[in-house]
């Protein structure tokens, strides 16, 4: 996983799965990288082929943290498999989803 900042957005890229093995890692990474200026955490989901309930838990945890600072989480270009899961769990309305 890589992070970079663009304006008020913390962008996380370069991961292909979000599951039990890296969910906690993602949460730690966001916690450590988040500056006061960040209002948005944007995850590049375009290469993510697998998202399980632990990955979902991490996304919700970040979403809640961002809401507290009047910010938000944004998922960029989720693959069809991932989008289907978000839809199934009615989370496509909770997270901002951008399809390029």
């Amino acid at each position: 996983m890589k992070t970079r900042t663009q304006g008020d957005t913390l962008i996380i890229t370069d991961f292909t799965e979000l599951n039990t093995t890296n969910a906690t890692w993602l949460q730690d990474l966001v916690r450590q990288s988040l500056a006061h200026t960040h209002k948005v955490v944007e995850l590049d989901m375009s290469k993510v082929k697998f998202l399980d309930s632990n990955g979902i838990s991490a996304l919700i945890s970040i979403h809640k943290a961002m809401c507290k600072r009047s910010g938000k989480i944004r998922l960029l270009g989720p693959t069809p498999a991932v989008f289907q899961i978000l839809q199934l769990l009615s989370l496509n309305e909770v997270f901002e989803i951008i399809n390029p």
Binding site: F50, D52, S53, I60, A81, L88
Partner: protein, 593 residues
């Protein structure tokens, strides 16, 4: 990372054994995906299975017990022509799987795994055992477009494949054979359910089958008695000494594993770590045993408890075997409940038929037409309660000169009461020579009927009134019956008639009679206690005083006997409103006309 140990038979079967560790879950789901990709399955299905296996394995690793952590989890994949089935055996404490898991609130970070599995699968079962549980997930295979020859292709494929692992094949064959045995037994069980058989015999036969299927050594089946107070032995493989009952009353000591299952409404397990209590009667014979006591329900009501066990204390039932025990017991619950329903239905039919007979008998006793004398009219009323009683009235003209009025109430309901009313009537008509001395008539009736009434522990209250129209006098004698009411112009009705013992109480009772004048315009009301016992919506009884007041008002209308009866009937119906009639109501009116 530890790689799961895999056994594979072509594209039909895969078995994975892996450590109970969250890191293993993802590796296992990748293996499954790889195996299913060769089946082949479309991408959507592969992804669904990958996710379902991950969630199930995560669950098994997350909730594992300390002892369970030392054991390996097992995952089996069965590829059938029309569906894929995956079984994951875990070592958690298990959970009660809801029919459909609810989606947690948006803020909740947990609780979506089961929801995902149930949403993506066609069928999910969770079989609970003592030391292991098994989640069974099934999903239909998509039908490839235009592939009518898929079956033939599969057969050809299997034939051409080299099966390397003979031991795995052997295991699989045994498993299939055991499944077949279980299934065929369950099918036989299901078809037998449709046949009316004595429950005990049925239960004993099928419990023997159950022992063989689940490799158990003993069972005890107890059913709740009809009044729900105790568990009674229905069938057992243990010695006759086990023919005792267990009280279900709340204060009963719950030392028994069967009672604990009944009271907690849950399976109760016993083994070396949780042995049967010393106070448990089962422990006297099977102290070192492992098994479970399973409460049996039919529509939420407890119908019994099935205890099944193995004498060797160290080989617990597998989750699948526990499921078979529970299924058998639950089927049996339906059977017991149906048998009881059939018996109750039959009893209800018999009761209804009996009431019909009694009702017909009762109506046949009442005179079709009452005799009328010059200057005197007679009319009667009878209203039957839901359960027919033995009320009876009659009016008999004697030699064209006198009139005998009779009212009687046989204690009891149904056919016996109606039968005694018939006997009473036939005796009455046999000795009309005694009508002018009603006291003596009652004495004779009592003597004649005593032995039959005494044997049946029944009795009859009766009142006889002989009216002499020419002399304007009447004689009254009573046997435990309420006094009649006599009205005369301008006065409240008065009670007339002494009451001795009812007929059938004392063999040698002598009844006396009372001679009274019948004033001009007088009316006599003979009635049964069903009239004064009539209740209104506030549970108040009409009572003798209420009857007197109403009778006075009715009499003031100066109607004839028939009109008086009609007014009385309306008064009673108005008083009771919509309340059900508790007892038969009968009365007889004599009116000077």
């Amino acid at each position: 990372m530890v790689t799961p140990r895999a056994n594979q038979i072509g594209d039909q079967f895969l078995s994975l054994v892996f450590a109970c560790d969250l890191r293993e879950s993802r590796e296992v789901s990748r293996c499954v995906r790889q195996f299913l990709a060769a089946v082949p399955l479309p991408e959507d299905d592969l992804h669904a299975w990958e996710l379902m296996v991950t969630e199930a394995a995560n669950n098994a690793a997350e909730y594992v017990t300390d002892t369970g952590r030392q054991l390996s989890n097992r995952l089996e994949v069965f590829c059938r022509d029309d569906e894929i089935e995956i079984r994951l055996t875990d070592h958690t404490l298990g959970f009660d799987m809801p029919a459909q898991a609810e989606l947690p609130s948006i803020d909740s970070e947990k609780g979506r795994g089961l929801f995902l599995i149930q949403s993506l699968a066609d069928e999910v079962e969770y079989l609970r055992g003592r030391t292991e549980n098994c989640m069974v997930i099934r999903k239909k295979r998509p039908v490839p477009a235009g592939s009518v020859r898929a079956g033939a292709a599969t057969v050809a494929g299997v034939g051409s494949r080299f099966i390397a692992d003979e031991q795995t094949l052997q295991t699989m064959t045994e498993e299939l054979a055991s499944c077949y045995e279980s299934l065929s037994a369950i099918f036989r069980f299901s078809s037998a359910l449709n046949r009316p058989q004595p429950t005990e015999e049925f239960a004993a036969t099928w419990m023997r089958e159950l022992l063989a299927i689940v490799e158990a050594d003993w069972y005890v089946l107890r059913l709740v008695d009809p009044v729900g107070k105790e568990l009674r032995l229905s069938a057992t493989s243990l010695p006759d000494a086990f023919d005792y009952s267990l009280s279900l009353l709340p204060d009963a000591a719950a030392g028994s594993v069967e009672l604990r299952a009944a009271q907690s409404r849950q399976d109760v397990w016993f083994d070396a770590s949780a042995p049967l209590a010393l106070g448990d009667p089962l422990s006297h014979v099977i102290r070192h045993s492992n098994g479970l006591a399973h409460p049996i329900f039919a529509e939420e009501s407890l119908v019994g408890v099935l205890a099944v066990g193995r004498s060797s204390g160290d080989v617990p039932f597998k989750a699948g075997q526990v499921n078979v025990i529970q299924t058998f017991a639950d089927f049996l619950g339906i059977q017991v409940s149906n048998a009881r329903f059939r018996a109750e239905h039959l009893q209800a039919q018999l009761t209804a038929r009996e009431l019909q007979i009694a009702s017909n008998l009762q109506r046949s006793l009442l005179p079709e037409k009452l005799p009328q004398m010059p200057g005197l009219g007679v009319a009667g009323y009878y209203h039957s309660a839901r359960q027919v009683g033995g009320d009876f009235y009659d009016a008999i003209a004697v030699d064209g000169q006198g009139l005998l009025l009779v009212i009687a109430d046989v204690m009891g309901k149904g056919v016996p009461a109606a039968m005694f009313a018939t006997i009473f009537r036939s005796h009455l008509h046999a000795r009309l020579d005694l009508v002018k001395r009603p006291g003596e008539f009652l004495t004779w009736l009592n003597r004649s009927l005593f032995s039959d009434l005494d044997r049946m522990e029944m009795f009859i209250t009766a009142q006889l009134v002989y009216v002499d129209p020419a002399a304007r006098k009447f004689q009254v004698a009573g046997a435990g019956h309420c006094p009649l009411l006599m009205t005369s112009d301008g006065n409240l009705p008065v009670e007339v008639g002494n009451t001795g013992f009812p007929l059938g109480i004392m063999a040698d009772t002598r009844y006396s009679e009372e001679l009274r004048d019948l004033p001009p315009g007088a009316r006599l009301l003979l009635f049964t206690d069903g009239v004064t016992d009539t209740q209104n919506a506030s549970d108040e009884m009409l009572g003798v005083e209420g009857l007197k007041r109403n009778l006075q008002q009715i009499v003031n209308q100066r109607g004839n006997a028939a009109q008086t009866v009609q007014d009385m009937a309306i008064m009673l119906q108005t008083f009771q409103g919509k309340e059900p009639v508790i007892d038969d109501q009968a009365f007889l009116v004599l009116a000077s006309e």
